[in-house]
Structures are given as C-alpha cells and as structure tokens.
Symmetry: C2
Subunit: 219 residues, 2 copies
DNA sequence: CATTCGATCTAACAACCGTTAGATTGACCG
DNA sequence: CGGTCAATCTAACGGTTGTTAGATCGAATG
C-alpha cells in the first residue's frame, strides 16, 4: 500500500547526487579534487572563484557525500569520497561528449592546434613509454603529480618548464598531459616545446581518464 | 587570454546533464525508459505522475539530449539516447549506495524480507540457469521483456503470475527479477510463489545492472 | 592577548525550477 | 466534419538556488 513514499525517497536520495553535479562551478571543483586533496584556498585560486562561494559549493558537495574533509591547522583539506566519484565525473563528461553536439564543438574550439594531439592508443603509448621511445611529462603542479601520475611520467610543472628545458631529450618525442580534456596546461606545454625545437605532442587524458579505462598509475 | 569563458562553457554543458538528473521524478522516468521505449502516457501511468508534468520532465531530459523521441500516430515514444545513459543511471545509483547511508537504510527498509534475496553471484546464477538448475522469470510487463531480458529467462508478468502457476516447476528454485533494486515487483512475485509452496528467491539486478556488469542479454 | 588569515556563517537579492491547472495542438475515428 | 484523446504549451504560484557582501569563528603566530 505504502510503496510510493519509500520508493520516491530512493529517487530523492539519488537526485541529491545529481543536484550536486548540476552546477558548473561544482563540477570544476570536482575535477580539481580528482587530481588530489586540496585546501579551500587552493581550490578557490585554481578555479578562479571567490573563496566564500567556493566554501558554499564545497558544503553542497559535502552534503551530497561526494567529498570529505580533513582539518590540518588553519587549513581544511577536501578530497573526493572515493574513486567511484571521479569515475562518475568521467562518465558524466563522456555522456556529454557523446550526446551534446554543442559540447563537442566547444571542446574542439578550445584546443588551439588539433595537430598537437598524440595519435597513439593508450596501450601503445604505455608500451613506448616503458621502452623509453617517448618521454612522458606531467605538467601539473607537483602536489598533483605526487598524488598519482601515469607510469613512466616525469613531473615537469608548466611554470618550470622553460627553466628545465635542459632536462628534456631532443632526440625523442615528448608527450605531455595534464588534468584532463578540459585542461589547457598540456596545450601550453606543447606550444612552448615546439617553439624551442622539440618534438612534442599531448594526450587529452588525465590521471582519472587513464584510471577509468582500466590502466594502472604510479604514486 | 580568453580561456575562462570557453572553459566554463564546457562545465556548463556537463552541468546540463547533471541538472537533468537532479530531479527524483526525472530519475524515475529514466529508470523506466531504461527498460525500453515507452509512450508519455505509459510513463505517466507507471510513474504515477500527471501526464502534463511527465511531458514537462521529458522535455527537460530531451533538452539535455538524454532521451530521443519517435512519433507513431497519436503517440510519442520516448527512449534513452544510448546505452551509456542507462549506464550513467546505474553509476549514479551506485555512488548513492556507496556514500549515502540514508539511501542504504531506505533501500533496506523497502525490501520486506531480506531472506528472499538470492545469494548467488551473477556468473554462477547464469551458469545454473544455463544448465536448468534454476528457473529464471522476468516479472516485468511483456513489452519490457521483449525489449531485452536476461539469458534463459522466461516472461512471467506479475499480473499473470497467479494464473500461470502451472507453467512453473515445483522441483527447482525459481529466481525472479524485475526492473532493478528500486522495483518491488520481484518481491511481490517471491511472496506469492512462496505462499503457494514454491521455492523462490529474487535478485535485485534488472537488465541494466546486468549489462553494466558486462554480462550479455537476449532480445 | 591581540593579530592574522583560512574557512564558515548569515542576510538579501535575483533568477530559476517544480508543480498545478487551463488552453491548445495534432492525429485518428466514427 | 466534429469528437476524442495523446501530447504539448502557457501562465501563475511558491519554494529553492547561486551569488554577493558583510560578519563571525577558530587555529596559528608574534
């Protein structure tokens, strides 16, 4: 008799997750958190959002149990509640890419030079990286690299790239990656490297896309 | 220079998907549509929602490109835009189940008798069904069975179950399934069958959970 | 103990969303 | 050619949400 109320409660609970993922700003925060634990201040700075608003959005994510917090002195560090959350973020984005043509247009428009994309498959890239045929660099901030990175990848933060050109090989292809398809850091890196005569390309994968496709990472 | 605007557009597009999945009623419609193509009228009846409101929610889902329509005379048939959408629904629900304790409580409370749950793994159940050790019945409406069902499963709609008891074996375990963990039809079926002396249990999987775990279905 | 600074809380506003109910469209049928 | 019925559109309401800005909390620091 009384199936209706309890059943609709179930949908309401799931809708809480959907609601948490219905704001662009919150999605950006989720993507940043998918790179590793970060403080509110860091998140606000990296997303370019006022810290008070950032805190409000993080509260919404916390109430949906998508993120957890850890206090360390003055700082409160946020992290995703589990790997399934970053997996969900990748799935959500994949559905958008599959069905929203506007999304695909916007994404294509954002990448300055489509020619910079590496055409290798994930597996063959991994193979070449293992054998040293290509030189894979992680251009994200070091803290994100330390939280997990692609196998055989070296940390080479975008900001330090220009100073550390000597550490890069000029006889092999350099493959750069960053946070994922939305992130432009690897684009910048390829632009810079090519201008300096290196052979460079990028992959759109970040650590989470890599993990989502079932491949291993290093920490 | 102008990275901000185009980048936030990307998150806005993905947020459209999240927003479409942020309403309990819309999620219920998605789950129903995950069972197969249905008309607005059917959806409204099965979800217990006014048809005009149902139409409005379907419009929202259509604008997020999660569903597509096909006109057939007076009727407009809705269907999910692709298998990735039902996969996303399963992922969303799994995250809710993993992280929302209230959700797990509500789910546990809804199932009348936890003892009715079949303890087999998917693979071993499939094996036993193949060898005829168990008798798998699909208690959903026939149209949903025809749109796709578990291997070796017979269609046995809940409404006709009482009339067709003679078609069921009394020397083997009967395993019932329906639309998924939220659906109570298989519970009803097990209750009825046990009252009539049959050995019966249920699985919480529906076709989509089955597919999501990588197992095959028949049509 | 006062200061600093990260983080949260509060109030207030506009914009949006879900719901309801009446009106309208469009295809079929007698 | 009306009549029926599925489906959509429209207007209006009440509640919610995102954003902003000011105020507050709480842990370190001098």
């Amino acid at each position: 008799m009384k199936e209706k109320p309890s059943k609709s409660y179930l949908y309401e609970h799931v809708a809480r997750i959907g609601k948490a993922l219905s704001s662009p700003k919150r999605l950006e925060l989720v993507e940043l958190l998918a790179q590793g634990e970060k403080s509110v201040e860091t998140l606000a700075a990296q997303a370019g959002i006022d810290m008070r608003l950032t805190s409000a959005h993080l509260k919404a994510l916390r109430e949906a149990c998508l993120v957890e917090t850890r206090r360390e002195g003055k700082y409160v560090h946020y992290r995703l509640s589990g790997p399934d959350v970053s997996q969900l973020w990748v799935s959500l984005r994949d559905v958008a890419e599959e069905h929203l043509i506007e999304f695909r247009l916007a994404l294509a428009q954002m990448v300055s030079d489509p020619d910079s994309l590496c055409s290798e498959s994930r597996e063959s890239l991994l193979q070449k990286a293992r054998q040293g045929e290509v030189f894979v660099i992680d251009v994200r901030p070091p803290s994100e690299y330390n939280a997990g990175h692609l196998p055989f990848a070296r940390s080479m933060p975008l900001g330090e790239l220009e100073k550390r050109l000597a550490d890069l090989p000029s006889d092999r292809t350099i493959v750069a990656y960053c946070r994922g398809p939305f992130c432009l850091m690897s684009d910048e890196a390829v632009k810079l490297l090519r201008a300096r005569g290196f052979t460079a390309s990028k992959i759109t994968d970040g650590v989470n896309e890599w993990v989502a496709s079932g491949l291993p990472i290093e920490t």
